[in-house]
């Protein structure tokens, strides 16, 4: 398990591994928003939590199609299935590696980008908390989508189409928690719902992903 995690993270940092791609995309989206909606500080401040959540979600989506497709192409997936690792565990570890290389940097970068969008001071803590709580769910749900599309040529667009509706609840509760935090309201309810979604998906989705992978490799 640890070997797979270390390998995936190592690969992400090596040339062509795609680390930083999501982060760069997050930065681009955030920087472009003021150009498209105008520089009014009040407007930017009020949409900042939503924009940052959406940017993080799309950045996560960006690297999903490499998550399993590369391992499928070079035969690693076949070898992993015949290895002593339970496939459910392997899939969870790959999702964890995806979160560490994509989700975690987004969480850490979000406050900086929050400054650019004039996020109210009260919102920073809640934004980071909601992203930290919600991005693992994005990685795990995304892994399921990646497992569904693993054998499909040019499955990237299909992957986005499949995953997008699955992301809706996470996005709603996450962005709502961040928004309420920024407005000085009590974000406990959406935050709890978000936590519920994250724990449920982290616990259950790997089984669906592994089942789908086995079906797809047959």
């Amino acid at each position: 398990m640890k070997a797979l995690l270390v390998r995936d993270i190592k690969l992400a940092f090596r040339a062509g591994g795609g680390f930083g791609l999501g982060l760069a995309f997050f930065l681009i989206v955030t920087v472009l928003v003021p150009f498209s909606v105008g520089p009014q500080q009040a407007l930017l401040g009020s949409i900042a939590p939503g924009v940052l959540w959406l940017g993080a979600l799309l950045a996560c989506l960006l690297s999903l199609d490499r998550l399993l497709a590369l391992d499928f192409e070079d035969g690693t997936l076949d070898l992993l299935v015949t290895s002593p690792l339970p496939l459910e565990g392997a899939v969870s570890v790959k999702a964890l590696a995806h979160w560490i290389t994509t989700g975690l940097p987004l969480v850490l970068a979000a406050p900086v980008l929050g400054v650019l969008l004039n996020l109210p001071p009260a919102g920073f803590g809640w934004l980071v908390a909601s992203l930290a709580l919600g991005t693992p769910a994005l990685s795990v749900i995304g892994t399921f989508g990646a497992a569904l599309t693993v054998g499909i040529k040019r499955g990237g667009l299909l992957l986005s189409l499949l995953v997008l509706p699955l992301y809706v609840p996470t996005l709603i509760f996450g962005a709502e928690a961040a928004r309420r935090g920024a407005l000085g309201l009590d974000p406990a309810t959406p935050l709890l719902m978000l936590a519920g979604i994250t724990f449920a998906t982290v616990g259950l989705m790997p089984f669906a992903s592994a089942a789908v992978l086995r079906m797809g490799l047959r």
Partner: protein, 244 residues
């Protein structure tokens, strides 16, 4: 005599050939009579004016949009548990029908919303849920199209349908939480046994709902037959080893 004998494609085709003519006629009768009754034979609502006539399209379409997905969920489960081809092909056949129903519900809802709410589109929980349902249909159909091996496609789309159902319900609650909504309450609250529309509107509405249901059944039976024939064609070709 078990119901599962109709899981055999050939048996299914012969049964469906017997049932279909009746079904098509009944569906056509109910839809046409219901819509004409509703359009010509009912008065305007004192608040909503003549726009109330849209209800005869909007509500049955919305009802079938949800029921189609529900049917797909059940048939997908049957495929995953019992591996009956007809079951999963019925799910495949139902998806485009359900999607068109969703589109009708969305379009008529938007047209209805314009005069009532003053806007074509409002991010009302019900409309939003239907938009999400539309995306699920789109993803399901796209996944079927993308996978070459029919059995793998059946497996993966069935799991997607299962997982998608859970997330669809989750989305419904999330969306409700997120916006309380402009939409009027349900027109036919089956659970309470009561109803919020008066009889004048109610009977033609029931007629339309039955009609849309029968139409859905007829379409799904026909389309399942088509899918079975396509699979049989491919199977015969493959067995003949490229000689045909």
């Amino acid at each position: 005599m078990s119901i599962w004998q109709y899981a055999n494609p050939v048996k299914f085709l012969s049964l469906s050939a017997k049932v279909q003519p009746v079904l098509w006629v009944a569906a056509g009768f109910c839809v046409v009579v219901g819509l004409i009754w509703g359009f010509f034979g009912t008065p305007d609502d004192f608040r909503q004016g003549s726009t109330v006539k849209i209800i005869y399209l909007h509500v049955p379409a919305a009802l079938m949009a949800i029921n189609a997905w529900f049917m797909m969920l059940i048939t997908s489960l049957i495929w995953l548990v019992r591996r009956h081809h007809v079951s999963v092909l019925a799910a495949k056949a139902a998806a485009p029908v359900g999607m068109v129903m969703t589109v009708i519900a969305l379009v008529t809802g938007a047209i209805w919303g314009q005069p009532m709410w003053g806007t074509w589109w409002a991010w009302d929980p019900r409309l939003t849920s239907f938009l999400i349902l539309f995306l699920f249909y789109l993803g399901y159909i796209a996944l079927w199209e993308a996978i070459e091996d029919p059995d793998t496609a059946a497996d993966l789309t069935s799991v997607l349908c299962l997982v998608g159902s859970v997330f669809a319900v989750l989305s419904r609650y999330a969306v409700q939480f997120w916006n309380q909504g402009l939409h009027q309450g349900t027109s036919v609250p089956v659970a309470t046994g009561g109803r919020t529309v008066s009889d004048v509107f109610f009977y033609p509405l029931v007629m339309c709902m039955v009609g849309f249901g029968l139409l859905f059944l007829a379409l799904v039976l026909y389309r399942t037959g088509t899918e079975i024939r396509l699979r049989r064609t491919a199977a015969l070709r493959a067995r003949a080893g490229g000689n045909v």
